[in-house]
Symmetry: C2
Subunit: 432 residues, 2 copies
């Protein structure tokens, strides 16, 4: 662990630097595979599934039969846990529904704003060591509440050509319309262009490795929207002398086990806590099954001592953490002044893993400093805003002349004409 | 004008195709200029301003003196018009403010969602033939309402090294914090990396030509967000036999004059209206100052006759127009069923130019079919959503075991531990 004591602001950029990501040369590979998928559809998708996942898939879409079987393979304990999580996530995202905003801006000028669902969305769930069925909940539940018509899901098959039953169970439970055994670049490509089996979608959501990250970036060039740019997961804890060092260490480790490139940071005003957390980290680390991953990630990580809460919050806003834990007897100061964070966890009994699974908030959050300008996934991520206006005869008489003057000043005569022709027609009628 | 009668759905993709854009080879140029700006700052910005705008600029930032002078160069008529527009835009965007959403998802598990401003935003206003001070209003007003701290604006200087007084006036009026005489790629590059004069920003807004479009796309690779991908402006009118053909023609032309690559489409259920609009277009076109641009744009444009309103709305949702005008005695059918459109204009006295300037809605809208998944600029574009959670001892006892089960099933032991350690500590305390 790197320990840093009272860093000067000039050194912040260096201290706050994220672990470097090696994305070189991936882009050309992704572009090539995209071209092939656009041209050859399923054939190309199957070819790359064989190449990358080492399995020949005949039917890309998961069958009803497979869905039914999967349900039997889940313990009732896990089903109950998933149901509780689903209830909380549903409650929190339902509460985000917003009403139509209607206004008369000038007399006779009625304007309103309404949100309507994105009709077709695609969810990507990574495979690999952890079967992230929780991410299925986090993406499919708001998509369903928003009213998206087509909610498809892609996730890589294992060596037997199967998908983790928990992923299938969660997908079915949350209203996913079609599930495909497709991973990585080929999944993002298939959802971008559409193939014989896979419908093209308007927006793609979900985490993934560097290949998926770049593929999503390239998908945007082809007119598909994405949830947000991705990056390795990260956690920043601010804890003062009132914090429980073993709780804090357990949170730091829960983030560290995600991947070797995860980053965890402790900022504290207490040297004693810093030392205690360091000790706790060592002892809790030893018994973790994912010790190799977590140790590597701890190498990227920092324990930082600062003098004041103000110094701390400035540093934190500059870093813009994905997850931000506050354990302080002055928590209100931090709640009020945090400007840039994905999700905030407050107090000793709010571990980050609560938000990962079951508190109700979404766990798909901006990493890599993107909390400065991106929102985490929420209900609005599955909607788009449209505006409407309806102007009466009186209304155009009220604002028409302002429009004419402005259009003329911008040199746009036809814009002006569209108003003039209406105003004149009304004047003629009045005079008739 | 291309006239199309009762097209079969199979032919829709071809009919709805946007005019092709030639973006080849721009990307490499943009990347090179970005690298130079990152390395050399102001020096590179000035070099490219000389190259592209043909003027040597000494001070990139507009001085207070220039701002004061500009105000005197605006007629009071134009000032009044701008003030009326500002009032309406302000009203409509203020109404979009949303309250904090607070919820107890399980007993003892308090979650909330809050929106906080993006601290630093950059607005780009194109130069060229039309001085788009209206776009200054559309971007700076919501930025100010959102509470963005730094609102900078870049716009290219003219051959005398000056900026149109109307742009300066609008910028000052709406609370822009710094204005720079920088256009095109170099403006987007400067706002992405920051230079000696120009602060870097977290999100860039505003329209522009192909160079600006690609520059914004590349900016996203460097961690900056953008409002939306851009494309040529477009308008689709649905009008039935009750519509006024000369009004409709005036709206189509107001869009056509934007640029040679603009697209306008009329969909109608009335052959008579179609013919009348065609005649009106010819006669109104003749007197336009921008006749060359508008004529070219009309070549990309289509008059389409369909049999039913249902056929019409399906076609329209597939096209996803930036601007959608409805002139029909069954307007409610279209209002209810439009799924994909940037902004909707309803009835005979609601010309599109009302929304461009003064109705109150925003005119920065998704083009190129992006209304399927992107919102137009609105108050939320300048905010990001953050979530918070605070769990009590009782709360973690309520949801803790669900988290443990799910974390274990995902193979994430440290996630489970963060809960277990807390539950055990509570149990020990109870037993003590």
């Amino acid at each position: 662990m790197n320990k840093i004591y009272n860093p000067k602001p000039a050194s912040w950029p260096e201290i706050l630097e994220r672990p470097p990501q090696n994305l070189t040369n991936i882009e050309a590979t992704v572009s090539d595979i995209f071209s092939e998928i656009k041209l050859k559809g399923d054939l190309a998708v199957k070819k790359y599934t064989q190449l990358f996942d080492g399995i020949e898939i005949e039917k890309l879409m998961v069958s009803t039969n497979e869905l039914t079987t999967s349900e039997k393979e889940i313990t009732s304990d896990l089903k109950n846990a998933i149901n509780l999580a689903k209830t909380n996530i549903e409650k929190f995202h339902c509460a985000q529904k917003s009403e139509k905003i209607v206004l008369e801006t000038s007399e006779g000028v009625k304007c309103w704003q309404e949100k309507r669902p994105i009709q077709k969305v695609g969810l990507y769930i990574p495979g690999g060591t952890a079967p992230l069925f929780s991410t299925v909940l986090m993406l499919a539940i708001p998509a369903k509440i928003a009213g998206c018509e087509e909610i498809i899901l892609c996730t890589p098959p294992n060596k037997e050509g199967k998908i983790e039953p928990s992923i299938l169970y969660a997908a079915k439970l949350c209203g996913v319309t079609k599930i495909f055994k497709i991973g990585g670049i080929q999944a993002i490509g298939a959802m971008t262009f559409g193939t014989e089996s896979v419908p093209s979608v308007y927006k793609i959501f979900g985490p993934g490795n560097n290949f998926v990250t770049i593929a999503k970036q390239i998908a945007t060039k082809h007119g598909v929207a994405i949830d947000m740019p991705a990056g390795p997961s990260e956690l920043l804890v601010f804890a003062d002398e009132t914090a429980n060092a073993s709780f804090v260490a357990s949170d730091l480790l829960s983030q560290a086990e995600h991947g070797a490139d995860s980053q965890v940071i402790l900022i504290t005003t207490s040297r004693r806590l810093l030392n205690n957390v360091e000790k706790e980290l060592q002892s809790q680390l030893k018994v973790l099954p994912r010790i190799a991953v977590a140790s590597q990630s701890l190498n990227n990580s920092k324990l930082i001592l600062v003098e004041t809460n103000l110094m701390a919050i400035n540093l934190i806003n500059e870093y813009a953490p994905e997850h931000f834990l506050i354990v302080s007897n002055e928590e209100d100061f931090f709640i009020e002044n945090i400007q840039n964070a994905g999700s905030v966890f407050i107090g000793s009994y709010t571990p980050e893993s609560a938000g990962d699974y079951a508190s109700g908030t979404n766990h798909t959050l901006p990493t890599n400093g993107f909390a400065k300008q991106y929102s985490g996934v929420n209900l609005d991520s599955f909607l788009k805003t449209m505006t409407f206006q309806k102007i009466s005869e009186k209304g155009i008489q009220n604002i028409g002349s302002a429009i004419e003057i402005m259009a003329e000043a911008e040199g746009l005569q036809a814009h002006k004409n569209a108003v003039t022709i209406r105003l004149e027609s009304l004047k003629m009628r009045e005079n008739a």
